[in-house]
């Protein structure tokens, strides 16, 4: 019989890991783990994929926004998360950004005058990024994508806290995943009910700070 994970019954939630990708640098838990500031976003993503040996050929078919989300989530969870502690439907994903899928929308629109690209069309919604993250990691819990002019930590904290309060999820990958052209910024964090040596309290103040500093 498998051992059931210990569940903290208090209402506190903790940020147990974080990952940021910004301006050619990848940070995991505050430490820079990959850097290539001269590459274009497309080159940067492919080089990071190869560097971290992600081994998921579908990555190459994704749009840049989904690549950012999948890469960020992979690095967020690597060495920080044991998926066996949760059922697939207990793990949620809540993301937000400012440009939705506009980067791919523009690329798709440019193909419309010739032959519209089906491979681009399927990425003309921002929540496809969440779909790609969930498919790769077998997450089946609640997920949502929100578009805000800028990062809204107040909303994010309230929304994710509500999901936990209603017992909809037991763990959540959440944060900001923005991309438009060569400008991008990803700040993701893993929220769980358990406390670890390096965890910080999941609250509005801490996620706002994490967004500002990229590395918590």
């Amino acid at each position: 019989m498998s051992k059931q994970p210990d569940r903290n019954l208090s209402s506190e939630k903790y940020i147990t890991a974080n990952c940021a990708i910004d301006n050619g640098v990848v940070y995991v838990n505050g430490a820079s783990v990959f850097e290539n500031k001269t590459a274009s976003i497309s080159e940067f993503l492919d080089k990071a994929y190869q560097h971290f040996e992600i081994g998921y050929p579908k990555f190459y078919k994704m749009d840049n926004l989904s690549k950012l989300g999948v890469l960020g989530t992979d690095l967020l969870l690597k060495n920080n998360f044991n998926a066996h502690n949760y059922k697939p439907d207990e793990i949620g994903v809540v993301l937000m950004n400012a440009s939705a899928s506009l980067d791919t929308d523009i690329k798709y629109y440019k193909t419309v005058n010739d032959i519209p690209s089906p491979a681009l069309f399927v990425y003309t919604l921002p929540n496809i990024m969440i779909g790609e993250i969930c498919i790769k990691n077998n997450f089946k819990g609640e997920n949502a994508f929100f578009v805000f002019k800028s990062f809204d930590g107040t909303f994010m904290a309230r929304y994710v806290n509500n999901l936990f309060a209603e017992n909809v999820i037991q763990a959540c990958i959440c944060g900001w995943a923005e991309l438009l052209g060569e400008n991008y910024k990803v700040v993701l964090y893993l929220v769980e009910k358990k406390q670890t040596n390096q965890s910080s309290l999941f609250n509005e103040e801490n996620i706002k700070k994490m967004y500002r500093t990229n590395n918590g």
Partner: protein, 82 residues
């Protein structure tokens, strides 16, 4: 067929594959190369863009896109008819 394999790799973003990795008779879908329904649409686009061939009957798709060889055969037959 080598050129067609190169075109398939570019069109479908199969960056982890080289032309020699794709067998002439290897099934393109499911148990073979593992392509999906979006890839099938991209192969139709490839025929239009590179060879000006429109797949007139969608039901022909499974036969035409069975392998690189069947695709090459279809291209050959339809280019001759022009």
């Amino acid at each position: 067929m080598s050129d067609l394999k190169k075109q398939i790799i570019v069109q479908l973003n199969l960056k982890d594959l080289k032309p020699e990795d794709i067998g002439d008779d290897q099934p393109l879908f499911v148990e073979g190369l593992g392509l999906d329904s979006i890839d099938a649409l991209e192969l139709i686009v490839l025929l239009q863009q590179e060879y000006k061939i429109k797949l007139s009957n969608a039901e022909d798709g499974p036969k035409v896109f069975q392998s690189v060889r069947t695709m090459a055969q279809y291209i050959k037959e339809h280019q001759v008819q022009k």
